[in-house]
Symmetry: C5
Subunit: 355 residues, 5 copies
């Protein structure tokens, strides 16, 4: 499954640079467009199926958020590109789900790519490609499919809670990115629980290759998360430090806070990474401990009974003249000897702390 490999697999080589091709695996979804048009005093919310209808909103004064779900509909992306005169490479990056997080500054607009991460119902990591175009009075967001982490922001626009209604499009971009990053915290928490489960499994279950496989899967997942999150540090840092006219001073404080959060997520990821790498070592010692225990049982039983069996063998021989066999109490004396040997060896193993 394309989603499971770490390689940017679906990239079609040989294409003209700037060609808009969807490279993800959610190509069956419908196109679905949301528009929020608001200022301090009023707001309007619309759901559209045709991209052209959105343009009229965005061209008016108040801040407009156009949320495009379904980047597999590349023709819609191209129409937006025509209308807003976006660079062809941006259009390519909107549709190219393999594109890593980045920020591109152009005259008149900013382009930001990032990744929305969540575990799906099967507990598998899903990486959704999401990109933003920030213009003077609009933000256009592009998502692979329906369903996102922006409900809280929608409510804030509707109810006028918080600062979003009173500030410009740059604050909206910040708010959307903040929502994506906030969601990383949930992911990181889920990750932590998975690792703790694995640790518990190591000690409880009997050793089997599945755990090795699980650990390796965790490694791969954390590496993929890392790749999705780490470039974001530079992205946000560059937006904050940027002197692009679209980014106002007031928003820069918030971006610095966002940057802080990403650093925090990054640190947690690296700690979990170290923990997972440590799991393999833990597992090795656990296996070795179990092996040790197995070997001790064998050694104790064999070391006790092999010599005793030898003794029994001696007196099972058929030599014509074996004096001990004639003694009346020979059999009982031998039993006594064997019991002494038995407890002597038990004591020896006890002292060696094998028991």
């Amino acid at each position: 499954m394309a989603n499971n490999t770490v390689s940017p697999a679906n990239k079609q080589s040989g294409l003209v640079p700037g060609t808009v091709v969807y490279t993800g695996n959610k190509s069956s979804g419908d196109l679905f467009i949301e528009v929020f048009d608001y200022d301090k005093d009023s707001f309007e919310e619309k759901e559209l199926n045709k991209i052209e209808e959105a343009f009229s909103y965005a061209d008016t004064e108040p801040v407009t958020w156009i949320n495009v779900n379904g980047i597999n509909h590349t023709e819609a992306i191209e129409k937006i590109g025509d209308h807003y005169e976006l660079h062809p490479l941006i259009l390519e990056d909107i549709a190219n789900t393999q594109q890593r997080p980045k920020i591109d500054e152009y005259e008149g607009y900013l382009f930001v790519v990032l990744k929305m991460l969540y575990f799906n119902k099967e507990g598998e990591l899903e990486i959704e490609h999401i990109s933003f175009v920030l213009g003077p009075n609009y933000v256009i967001s592009f998502q692979e499919a329906d369903g996102d982490v922006f409900d809280a922001i929608r409510n804030r626009i509707r109810t006028g809670k918080g600062r979003v209604r009173t500030m410009g499009s740059d604050y909206l971009l910040y708010a959307l990115m903040d929502a994506v990053v906030d969601n990383y915290f949930n992911l990181i928490e889920a990750m932590g629980e998975k690792i703790e489960e694995l640790e518990d499994d190591l000690f409880e279950e009997k050793p089997n290759d599945d755990i090795t496989y699980d650990i390796q899967s965790q490694k791969r997942e954390i590496l993929k998360i890392r790749r999705a999150v780490f470039p974001l540090r530079e992205v946000v840092n560059r937006i904050e430090k940027s002197d692009h006219p679209l980014i106002t001073d007031k928003t820069q404080f918030y971006l610095r806070d966002l940057y802080d959060h990403i650093i925090q997520v990054s640190e947690s990821i690296d700690i979990y990474r170290e923990m997972i790498w440590g799991l393999m070592d833990m597992y090795m010692t656990t296996i070795s401990n179990k092996m040790n225990e197995v070997m001790k049982v064998l050694t104790i039983i064999a070391s006790i009974f092999i010599p005793l069996t030898f003794l029994a063998g001696i007196y099972g021989m058929n030599f014509e003249y074996i004096p001990e066999l004639k003694y009346k109490h020979g059999y009982f004396v031998l039993w006594g000897l064997m019991i002494v040997i038995f407890f002597g060896l038990l004591y020896y193993f006890k002292r060696k702390k094998w028991l």
Copy 2:
């Protein structure tokens, strides 16, 4: 338990940025406010339960230290924010125990976050979130709960010992941060003792999975300490290098010294980190050595008695014609042979240094 995971778990995503929400696990504590108001010649000490009463002190000329215990009382934080016109993101960070150490410079005040570390009575690592606001003639400190490492500073203010009474609020901030960092040395020492105990356990006890688990716990703890301490280096470095008007030249010397101490703690942490990582390897060799010993005992006993038992088996056979059985001294000759084999093998194992 929230305290045991490395993830910033309690962060409620979806909140308006700047919302003041306490995210720690000490939410039952009472609000408790201390005020120290002093200059070179006099000092006053008060304990309050209402934050409003503190403002009158801080607004007068002498240096005032307002120590707020109980950041779960978010309404008090908001009142302070209103009174001193602090940025809403600062208020959020005061209450957000997941916030990493940082320094934010604003016009008119400085905001510093750090972590107080200690082992609680159960020997578990506790990380307490602590933040400072430095103003022209005041320092406000925010703690999660009662109990801290500032008693020595309280005494110095009361008795006028040292420089604290003769210098400004920036020196007080330095003194408070220095107390926190000084306490790291105690933590590091306790850490070192734990590691030495673990090393001793490795050699003395019989291998068991608990040690593996303990080592993994130590790894996690040191990673958490590292995350709490390392960002501090940049924090202090930035305060020292800062040309913020609140930081005087005289205090900069002290901050450089503080920076030195943090570097020292950081180096110790990294050395312990390497030691702990090494423990797992040590443990593996210890297990292998023990396995080796077990296998040698088995091999020596089995290698000696299995051939002897075979010989006894030979003369236990019921063939009609086995000439040796008829020899008068056959039995004794065989014993002799067996004893020769026995000592021959013993000598062989001795020479191989298995005994």
Copy 3:
């Protein structure tokens, strides 16, 4: 085979610097020259065997691409060097297949070296040395042998699709480099499949040294790929940042995009590198798990039957007076005892989770 070592083996030491010597292993190929001469409105395509014939095209106004296959024909390289007045060290680097990716800026022209990577039919990694000279209205490419990744570009020139015909020689250089980098994605994908195959082998097959060998080979391959790809980051970054008059502003956007792609490939390579390193650990635990299983079987069977055999040995002894032997049901009682021991031990091993 020279191709299999990571060392720059074929370098003849002691040569005058600037001597043009082919150091690869494809020295039997013929010289084969392609020329594309195009502008917005027209294009001409020629195949030549003599390098001199190409010069007339490149000296005219429209953009010319001279593609030289067979850098083992060093005399042709020298003729080009004479005609375009290239620095002798450049000629050396064109023929020296050991040269790492680099960019050299000269007055009037740019020189770029990179590596074309593919798996040949035997599944082995092939590294082909490829270099470009960018002049005011021409690009000369030098390849080791026939066969490359430029067919898409040839078609775009022929059909006029995309931007290539409307832009200058710097865009052509970009397009050629982009084609090489695009092909890395295919390589990376193939790499990913190999690693997944190896992971599956680890669990399915019985342990053997071949897997160890395969893992080590993969390590070497990824290290070689890394070495071919990583210097490219700086190369493209330097072209983009360069203010060389041959690089136009328009092309710089595309170069930034190319840079992004190389970063993406680099990250994938590093992830695969970590995965491969992890494989060895996985393999070790797999072996240990198998060993554990083997030992358990031995321990269970030996621990059950060695004591029983001892009991049988007891009653095989020939003492004159062994009372049990006389009991009528002695034999059956013993069988009963043995069955109890048998199931008792089975239950013991079951409880230890060894069964």
Copy 4:
């Protein structure tokens, strides 16, 4: 023992910054002061017990070296501090043996901390805290106890050999630091010998936990040495690069040379570090090899004699009708068969290269 931990253990937290407290473990020594007062033409040498007597020398024109042994006598340090108007934090650092190597530049003087390393008679690493104050015409050195590496310099001052008598106090500081660093080379050499001994032990002795312990000790020692030496690189680099008026151009050449030496020591330390880390792996393979050998002996003996014993058991059965038992040469035929099996198995193990 305080000396054995890597933590800066003895730091008393809660003290007023700038308090002079000795934190080492050589607090019983007497105070002992040496004074060298010299210029190109003359020199004077004195041994004093009271620090006040030294001041008169240092205040005169010629260069004076005051060597203070016994920094446990904190009152003497304070007197020096008063006389030369040193910053209180410097006095604290002179007595605080936990202070890492550093350079502090003040107006009118320089303060340098470094570590003298040697193995004591018990072969344990000793770290002695040593600090220098460089003034316009004096150098004051502070040592924990009597005994140092400066005898060569003393002789050079007495005999006028070398440049020391003809140059200023900055050269004297260089010469003293050079002597400390020169001594690191001896330490490094001793370290190398210890590691080679350990390597030899690995192969010769029978595996035991002591070696594991020794390796871990070596790790700790090298980490401690590293911590003492590595900060010195920046210290010397900063002195060399400094434009402090006390450092003359002529001395800067020598400081660059000193820097070179420290880099050399640092590289050796890192090589040894890698070697020691490798030792644990070596040891693991050595143990495993030994285990392998043990298991082979067991397997060969058991695999040969267990089947033979089975055969003997067969003909020890008491069935009424076992035809082979009646054959006249049955016994000898069986022996023949057993010998064939014996050599057959031997040949099998030989071919497997187990013998």
Copy 5:
């Protein structure tokens, strides 16, 4: 042997800085001086035994190369130092074989130290100390002993091939350094072959401690090579970037090329380093695989014959009443049962893929 340790062992501590002491192990060689005096049109070659005779050549206009073999003759070095007014620290570094590669710029001359590496006849790594002084019209090279990698350059001077005769002394320095670096490629190739041999040994031979030892030796060698080569990167980079009047623009192109070669060698060294570190892991899995095989043989044979021997033991018992013994075909029925068990177990092990 001094040559085998990584420590800078022979450094005599306590010497006056600038003292010229030979610290290598080739102190028995004779002093031998070569002089090449050339310009575009003529050249002269001389072999001398006294250093004074060389000065007349170097003081004339044409470029002069004075090659001094035998730096154990420290008095000759001192004479050169007097004649050319070299800094005493340079003279110390010429003779000090422990000095790491470096570049020192002085007014009027440049001083360069590097290392000539080769495997001697015993296959051991030899590191020869070599240093250059570049003056306005001369280069003086200092070698430990006769025999070097400069024959190609001698021939180029004699025959006038290449650029050496037409360019200045800075190109000669470049040419000499290039010859040293070119030779690293041979070394690296030899290293690669050694590693491949080791890999083959791992799979073919039976495990023994020698391989562990060989791997550790390789580690040490590569670390020593690394230390000799890596500082060279900065050395050449600094010469190239330097604006010292002795380095002409024309030569800078060549130095950039040299820098490229050193990077290439460095990369190869690091790849081999990773390969060697991987070898230890490979070896561990190989040993474990072999152990696995040994254990399987033991387990299979023991698991089959121990139960069968038990059965035989049962019917070797001497109970008066064992009904089976009386059955006519009892013996054959038992054989049948045993054969069934035998094949049953074989089939079981087959299914477990142990056979």
